[in-house]
């Protein structure tokens, strides 16, 4: 006869404790990764939120004939070094567009130069003591303030930190991603369908499989070299264009899409295929009418995650020249462009300290987009997660 419950229970204490310890350890691991995320996001927000603010000043601007020729004379001498040079640059154009301005003097809010902006934010800057006092006074009178930075979202890159924005990089990213998806989505899904539904189990198929797994692990920078040699040099795709960036990224994203599509296809139970074959469907009809429709949520989830990864990729794009300086947003597949992560990367290496804040701001925008995309993928999956 075996031992009684009490005997056994007595011996169990130690073993139960070990289980609890394992559970705690594993939980700690998970909490740790959450903490990483929180620290990371916290750090980024801390560094970058001020990029969404912008120093502005209210000054008198006199639109005279002289100021049309020499814009600097439009404002009082003491402010000239404080107002963004971009503002002066626009004065002639603005006067041309609006002839009534001529001869008037207006008190208006203008964008401050980045050193002023940095001073208002309490950062290192190159202002003189006199200028600082002047700004302090303006702040007291309500003539200088920090406001929401719309410029950051509505302009392209600029060498003047106060005017630099992410619009052209965002457009570039958008175009590049469109090209990427337009190419790698169909090819990836087709490959996956071939491997999962059509391919005979032979050496060639296994070679393709190993090859795809291998591509998924190939350093992304090698894809850059590929883009440079094949797309730019051989096929003559314009350098720096969203087209070449998209092509390069699509090859990089391809394995990811294939792998996730295959998983999605595999999760469709064979019973559905059998049913379809049973009513006389051809292989392609089985796939197109039954398997693909039900696996689309899974395919989309994988693709969105692949897309998010492609969006954040930088190294191969540096090699194919997508780090162009783009002051004007452009919307063309074949003209030069830059992408958000490359913009972030190039801002990070500029001397002007104000760009460090822009870098973190750009990162925040990028993160917001990516988190949104990932959230969409998660939602999609949760909504359609289905067990047959």
């Amino acid at each position: 006869m075996a031992q009684s419950f009490d005997d056994i229970t007595k011996q169990l204490g130690k073993r139960h404790r070990r289980t609890r310890r394992l559970k705690l350890t594993c939980m700690a691991a998970m909490v740790l990764s959450a903490v990483f995320l929180v620290v990371f996001l916290g750090d980024m927000v801390n560094r970058g939120w001020s990029a969404f603010q912008q120093g502005r000043m209210q000054i008198e601007v006199s639109y005279t004939e002289q100021s049309q020729q020499m814009p600097l004379t439009a404002v009082d001498e003491q402010y000239r070094q404080l107002v963004s040079r971009g503002f002066f640059r626009q004065i002639p154009q603005r006067m041309e567009a609006d002839p009534e301005l001529l001869g008037t003097t207006r008190t208006q809010w203008v964008i401050a130069r980045s050193s002023v902006d940095q001073y208002l934010k309490g950062r290192e800057n190159s202002l003189s003591e006199q200028q600082r006092q002047l700004i302090d006074r303006m702040v007291e009178q309500g003539n200088a303030k920090l406001a929401f930075n719309t410029t950051f979202f509505t302009t392209g890159d600029s060498r003047m930190a106060e005017l630099a924005g992410i619009l052209s990089a965002a457009l570039g990213t958008l175009l590049t991603i469109i090209v990427t998806m337009a190419i790698c989505f169909p090819i990836g899904v087709m490959t996956a369908v071939y491997l999962e539904e059509f391919a005979p189990d032979n050496r060639f198929t296994r070679l393709i499989e190993v090859n795809i797994n291998n591509l998924a692990a190939v350093p992304s920078i090698l894809f850059g070299l590929l883009g440079l040699a094949i797309f730019i040099s051989f096929f003559g795709v314009p350098r720096s264009s969203p087209l070449v960036g998209g092509l390069t990224l699509s090859l990089m994203t391809l394995p990811m899409i294939i792998i996730s599509t295959r998983a999605a296809l595999r999760s469709v139970p064979d019973s559905i295929r059998h049913a379809a074959f049973g009513v006389g469907c051809t292989r392609w009809q089985v796939v197109s009418d039954h398997v693909l429709p039900v696996s689309i949520p899974g395919i989309l989830t994988g693709s969105i995650i692949g897309l998010a990864q492609a969006m954040g990729e930088t190294a191969p794009l540096i090699i194919v020249g997508m780090v162009a300086f783009m002051p004007d947003p452009s919307f063309s597949l074949t003209q030069a462009a830059t992408v958000l992560p490359a913009q972030v990367y190039s801002w990070a290496s500029l001397p002007n300290q104000a760009f460090q804040e822009k870098t973190a701001g750009g990162i925040l925008v990028l993160l917001a987009v990516l988190i949104t995309l990932n959230a969409a993928a998660v939602l999609l999956r949760n909504r359609f997660e289905r067990r047959w």
Binding site: R15, T19, R20, L22, K23, T25, C26, M27, A29, M30, L32, S33, A34, F36, L37, M44, I187, M190, T191, V193, Y194, F198, I208, V210, N211, N213, N214, L215, A217, V218, P219, S220, I221, L222, L225, L226, A229, I230, F234, F235, L251, L254, W284, Q309, M311, G312, T314, A315, I319, P341, V344, Y345, A348, I363, L367, L370, I371, L373, N374, A377
Partner: protein
């Protein structure tokens, strides 16, 4: 003018395709209406017609274009369009004769579809070839200047001073240059090792927690958190490593009386580990899920505690999957670029101390391709040689992982009768 030609041509082709489809279908429907049994349905004859005309034309245009590019001849756009048009019309005419009861339009389409799918699958092979082609010729040029063996086994990475070249004294400089890649690979492996030491325990631990312990709610809340970590661009991680983690590590090391370099290998390693956590955890999650529940129940039903069950039954069964996930993660870490470009140093340094500065293969590739070096110099070409070796290493890892999986699968054959 030329800009509108392509869209116009596409529209024309689409029109032709529609016409072909319609013709095929009508004709088949007419035959069928006469009461003749047909091998395929009218719609399938229609598709067949479209494929035979527009499909063939597209394929031929593409092939001609490719052939011209390969031979390096200029591409005569007009003739290409003309050829395409001719092929389309010809194809339509020929195909029309095949719209008859005993022709298997269905299998013909099916064949074309299969062919196209296989063609898509071929692209991944072409990609690999493309990578090889794009690095190999420059790599060969490099190896003609510098011995392959020395490159693989040398412990000195010292590309020499290019200013001497500029000063026209390059002869003496090139004799000075040393391209022993070991320090670069050592740095790469060191950083990878650190990353793995962070990622594998944390990733695996979270996966175990999520699969075996976590209540449903926690699971649903934390999975997205991990996925967000996965979605963060590497350039951002690089920024984080360089700006936040490196100084922190120097401070911490200083607290313990250790001296750490600001470009230490530890911080990119740790940050890369953080980047890889979700990768490991989601793969392990899948692997743990695929351990059949019957095994768990079998253990629990014998009065095995949950901890013992996980350690002794679940993990051993999941080992092959976890190993292959880890190897995949290793190859990602090896090839990771932006984090190290931003946070690791650039000094090739053969050391085992992670607090010292080190550099990696990818850093070296990027800096020699984007630096101020002359493009024909051995230093620039070394980037391609490094790329080639890196490619070989990841390939090797992959093969090892495939081999391991097969081996373990054999050993722990999980059979579900």
């Amino acid at each position: 003018m030329l800009d509108y030609l392509l869209p116009a041509f596409i529209v024309l082709m689409a029109g032709l395709g529609t016409i072909a489809f319609w013709m095929g279908r009508q004709r088949a429907a007419r035959v069928r209406a006469e009461g003749t049994a047909m091998r395929s349905q009218p719609g399938q004859y229609g598709w067949f017609m479209s494929l035979a005309s527009v499909g063939a034309a597209t394929a031929i245009i593409f092939l001609c274009w490719l052939a011209l590019l390969i031979t390096g001849s200029p591409v005569p756009l007009y003739s290409l369009y003309f050829i395409g048009l001719a092929v389309a019309l010809l194809g339509m005419g020929l195909a029309l004769r095949y719209v008859r009861p005993d022709f298997h339009a269905r299998s013909a389409i099916e064949g074309v579809i299969r062919f196209m799918l296989a063609g898509a699958a071929l692209i991944s092979i072409l990609t690999t070839l493309g990578i090889l082609v794009s690095v190999i010729s420059e790599a060969i040029r490099f190896f003609s200047m510098y011995s392959f063996w020395d490159f693989i086994t040398g412990t000195q990475w010292n590309p020499g001073a290019s200013f001497l070249e500029a000063a026209g004294r390059s002869s003496s400089a090139s004799s000075q240059a040393q391209f022993g890649s070991l320090p670069l690979f050592a740095g790469t492996f060191m950083i990878t090792l650190i990353a793995m030491l962070v990622a594998i325990p944390v990733g695996l631990g979270s996966a175990i927690y999520m699969v075996e312990f976590a209540p449903r709610g926690v699971r649903q809340a934390f999975k997205p958190v991990l996925e967000i970590l996965a979605g963060i661009p590497t350039v951002v991680y690089g920024f984080f490593a360089a700006i936040t983690v490196s100084p922190l590590i120097v401070d911490i090391a200083g607290f313990f009386g250790l001296e750490a370099s600001y470009t230490n290998a530890l911080s990119p390693g740790i940050v890369m580990g953080i980047m890889i956590i979700p990768f490991i955890s989601s793969l392990s999650d899948d692997v743990l899920h695929s351990v059949p529940n019957s095994l768990r129940q079998g253990a629990l039903a014998l009065g095995i505690t949950k901890g013992e069950m996980i350690r002794n039954v679940v993990l051993p069964s999941a080992t092959p999957g976890i190993i292959s996930a880890s190897l995949l993660a290793v190859s990602r870490a090896l090839g990771e670029t932006m984090i190290v470009v931003m946070a690791a140093g650039m000094s090739p340094n053969l050391t085992a101390n992670p607090l010292e500065t080190m550099t990696t293969v990818t850093v070296s590739i990027v800096s020699s391709l984007t630096g101020d070096l002359s493009f024909g110099s051995a230093h620039t070409l070394s980037a391609f040689a490094l790329g080639l070796v890196l490619f070989a290493v990841t390939l090797l890892l992959n093969l090892v992982s495939v081999f391991m999986i097969n081996h373990f699968r054999e050993k722990y054959r999980l059979n579900t009768i």
